[in-house]
Amino acid sequence: MTTPSRLPDPYGQGQSANLADILERVLDKGVVIAGDIKINLLDIELLTIKLRLVVASVDKAKEMGIDWWESDPALSSRARHDELTRENAALRERLRELDPGRVPREAP
């Protein structure tokens, strides 16, 4: 059993804790256990959740020009895909340098 010793007074916590700090922890950290109710938080548009902290909806956000997630690989499958495409192209280029003639110029 743990007997907690004295802790300093809380900093920026309790009722007033920054919602972003709380969500960051309860949604992104902590032990992941598949319960009987199968919800994968990653399926929930985390992005939607985060965005709704300040704006009404994703559409609204886009309207306002808030689109940072689109280039963030952690948040956008499209960005991930773009990144892969870029990486593939770079690798192909490199291969061509090393061994010209054996690497097709374009992916099918």
């Binding site: 907690p4 802790l7 032990v31 109710i37 938080l41």
Partner: protein, 264 residues
């Protein structure tokens, strides 16, 4: 019984009483569900809100999510006051007590390992922000129309000179911030039993002023916490234009993953 079981955390058995007026998610005060050497902390939650479909819909509702996240955190927080909880991710739900028991049994070894690793420790969050210096507000992405009243460049050379000055000042602040954050992180890591770097928070979401350049979590022994906090406090006035923010003590959310090694 129609209620589902919402699990907040897994702990070792503890003697102290939980804070009495804890509401818990859905307003059901948390109960202890002991099984063997472990205790699951659970609330009874209505099927209507926590069955799959309903839950998925609720999670998209910011008000619901906010209330649930705060309730979850409050319970974990109350546990942190009396023991070392292993916090579970939001919305871990089982059909009934026996489902929870089966889970405890299946993962017993891993839980014990992790609880041993975290025992007597808490998490502190440290963020470093670069505060925008009003003199340097003319950031590149700012539309020209809202640029401050810097003297209008009369020639191309003037313009370039002005730009260079501005860039240099910005670069200077950034490199100072980077150096500061790296140094702080190194010093704090030395005092901690573990450290994690998280993605910087988007200022639009956190509502915090300035730009978040360091968002770190440190695993610190309870009895070393006071010293740790003082150490952070001391750095607060060190660097003009740079702000340090401390949060905690949190349960060891950032260190609860089972993949976490000992030596990290």
């Amino acid at each position: 019984m129609t209620g589902l079981r919402y699990v907040y955390a897994v702990c070792r058995p503890f003697g102290a009483a939980l804070q009495s007026q804890l509401a818990g998610v859905a307003g059901d005060p948390p109960r202890l569900l002991p099984h063997g050497d472990l205790v699951a902390v659970v609330s009874h939650v209505p099927q209507a809100d926590f069955a799959e479909e309903a839950l998925r819909a609720h999670l998209e509702d910011l008000d619901w999510l906010t209330a649930t996240a705060r309730a979850h955190q409050q319970v974990v927080d109350a546990l942190t006051a009396v023991t070392t909880p292993l916090p579970l991710r939001l919305a871990t739900v089982f059909r009934d007590d026996s489902g929870v028991r089966v889970m405890l049994e299946e993962r017993e070894a891993a839980f014990r390992r992790t609880l041993d690793r975290l025992d007597g420790r808490v998490e502190w969050g440290v963020k470093v922000y670069v505060e925008a210096d009003p003199a340097q507000q003319a950031e590149p992405e700012r539309p020209a129309a809202s640029a401050p009243a810097a003297p209008k460049p009369v020639s191309g050379r003037d313009y370039l000179r002005q730009r260079r000055r501005q860039t240099r000042a910005n670069d200077d602040l950034w490199s100072r911030a980077e150096e500061f954050a790296t140094g702080l992180h190194t010093r704090l890591s030395d005092r901690a039993d573990g450290a994690r770097l998280h993605a910087p928070q988007n200022p639009r979401l956190s509502g915090a002023a300035g730009r978040n350049v360091l968002n770190a979590a440190y695993l610190v022994a309870r009895d070393a916490s006071e010293e740790f906090v003082e150490m952070v406090d001391r750095t607060k006035d060190d660097a003009p234009g740079i702000r340090v923010e401390l949060t905690g003590p949190w349960a060891a959310y950032s260190f609860a993953g089972e993949g976490e090694g000992e030596g990290s």
